[in-house]
């Protein structure tokens, strides 16, 4: 049983969130690789049972450029069996709050077994910790059910 968190972050908010989720996955006994996007290599997705994708949003709700390869990897690799979640940070003042999370969500729903999505406004606050717990519960629960 193996999990991965693959994420991108410019100003550190999404990487903070990724770390919070990482801690929580490990404390649930799930061995989890924490992979910043520049260390990601295509061709490895199917070796995981659970993958959480983390992304910020810029540019009117679009996908960050550096996430395009990952997005395409989900479209081309054998990932039907993989349980996925997508999380991100954004700013609700923009018209497309966490738009990149939504873009991943729709694709992951079609290509994988999507379990959960999570949006956080900027740096995670105290109140977001609970939501991180739920996120991990949902990711790991799915597997027990399957």
């Amino acid at each position: 049983m193996k999990a991965a968190i693959i994420y991108t972050s410019v100003t550190g908010n999404t990487s903070t969130l990724a770390e919070l989720i990482h801690e929580r996955m490990e404390s649930r006994g799930m061995e989890t690789d924490l992979i910043p996007i520049h260390e990601f290599r295509p061709g490895q997705l199917s070796q995981y049972d659970i993958i959480a994708v983390g992304t910020y949003t810029w540019d009117n709700g679009e996908l960050p450029l550096e996430m395009e390869d990952l997005y395409e990897a989900f479209e081309t690799e054998d990932v039907k069996h993989v349980t996925t979640g997508v999380f991100g940070t954004g700013d609700s003042f923009f018209a497309h709050y966490c738009g990149a999370v939504d873009l991943f969500r729709d694709m992951l729903f079609a290509q994988t077994s999507l379990a959960v999505t999570l949006k956080v406004e900027l740096t995670p606050q105290q109140t977001d910790l609970d939501r991180c717990d739920k996120f991990c519960d949902r990711l790991t629960r799915e597997l027990i059910l399957v």
């Binding site: 550190g12 450029l65 609700s92 923009f94 018209a95 729903f109 999505t117 900027l122 740096t123």
Partner: protein, 349 residues
């Protein structure tokens, strides 16, 4: 109410994976030549491109609908409309020359370039307020309104907080004063615009003066990105110059932004008091929510109690309303995933 007694945290360091080749955003050694492919903070290139992609100009927006509707606004609405318009215009007028001033002092050419783009955008904002005014009232009244903005004691008091620090930097530019200028620039772009924005979006949600609000929406989008950039600038400034990353300066951020918050509340109470449908208590909460976000952008903690956005309608219009197009990535492959939601059997947190 505020967390005055809590220990203040230092601004968190930026991502340590950045290359160290920067000779510094200030007092650095730099040839002055800019090759965007070889810069100290590569994410600045993305930011630069995002800012450029915002490009818009006032004349693209046809004011005919608003001109017709103007007649139907109440006298109070017209008065508040004109006062807010000139007040915002005077804030932007301040920002254009200040950004160019800062450019002279910043040694990293990529940052200089971004300050130049910001300065250009402020000039466009400034023009758009003139464009709105010229569509609605004769020159004589425009000038009267600008005089009114200059003389209004509350406007003056607000602006003084910012002006003092801008002026201090002009007189004796130093790293400390640059830091203080940047914090006040966040106040200007990130706090002071919002009572005005609230008024225009409030009209828009009643389908009034929607062309004006479209411009306001473009302006807000630009300003939000400026506030992001300046926050990054502050964080990098403090990371590169640890002698600035002191308890005192962090305290300065909390105190100065808090001052701006109080002044924005005071301004809202005064300018929006006769506008039905804007709850001023709620707006006070909104300003604190806004300021908390500014603190978090700076890598600091919330200063006010954490809360949800109490006025979600103060928001940039969507691309559909703004006629934006999707990126190449989604156009080329004509990806057509259906929009899904929690009703499809996953959880949305």
């Amino acid at each position: 109410m505020s967390q005055m007694d809590q220990p203040l945290s230092k601004i968190k360091l930026l991502n340590p994976t950045y290359p160290n080749k920067s000779t510094g955003i200030i007092n650095g050694e730099s040839s002055g030549l800019l090759n965007w492919n070889d810069i100290a903070y590569p994410q600045m290139y993305d930011l630069y491109q995002t800012l450029l992609a915002n490009f818009w100009k006032a004349q693209e927006i046809n004011m005919q609908d608003d001109i017709k509707q103007w007649e139907y606004l109440t006298e109070t609405e017209k008065d508040v409309f004109l006062r807010i318009n000139t007040q915002l215009a005077s804030l932007d007028s301040l920002q254009t020359p200040t950004m160019t001033e800062v450019m002279d002092y910043v040694t990293d050419s990529s940052f200089k370039a971004i300050f130049a783009v910001i300065s250009q955008q402020e000039a466009v904002h400034n023009e758009s307020y003139s464009y709105i005014l010229s569509s609605l009232v004769p020159l004589r009244e425009q000038n009267e309104r600008f005089d009114q903005a200059k003389e209004d004691p509350i406007v003056r008091k607000r602006n003084q907080l910012i002006l003092d620090r801008y002026e201090a930097f002009r007189q004796h530019p130093s790293p400390q004063r640059l830091f203080e200028l940047a914090v006040n620039s966040i106040n200007l772009e990130g706090i002071y615009f919002y009572a005005g924005f609230a008024f225009f979006y409030h009209l828009a949600r009643q389908q009034k003066m929607v062309k004006t609000s479209s411009m306001i929406s473009y302006i807000q989008r630009d300003e939000m990105q400026h506030a992001y950039f300046v926050s990054q600038f502050v964080r990098i400034l403090l990371t590169e110059n640890p002698e600035l990353n002191t308890e005192e300066n962090i305290n300065y951020v909390y105190q100065t932004v808090d001052k701006a918050v109080q002044l924005e509340k005071e301004w809202a109470d005064y300018i929006l008091k006769d506008i039905d449908g804007i709850d001023l208590e709620e707006f006070h909460g909104y300003v604190e929510y806004l300021a908390n976000k500014r603190f978090r952008q700076l890598g600091l903690d919330n200063y006010y109690p954490a809360r949800e956005n109490p006025m979600q309608w103060i928001q940039v219009f969507s691309d559909e309303m703004m006629n934006e197009t999707k990126s190449d990535f989604f156009e080329q492959k004509s990806r057509t995933y259906t929009k899904v939601s929690s009703s499809n059997g996953f959880d949305e947190l």
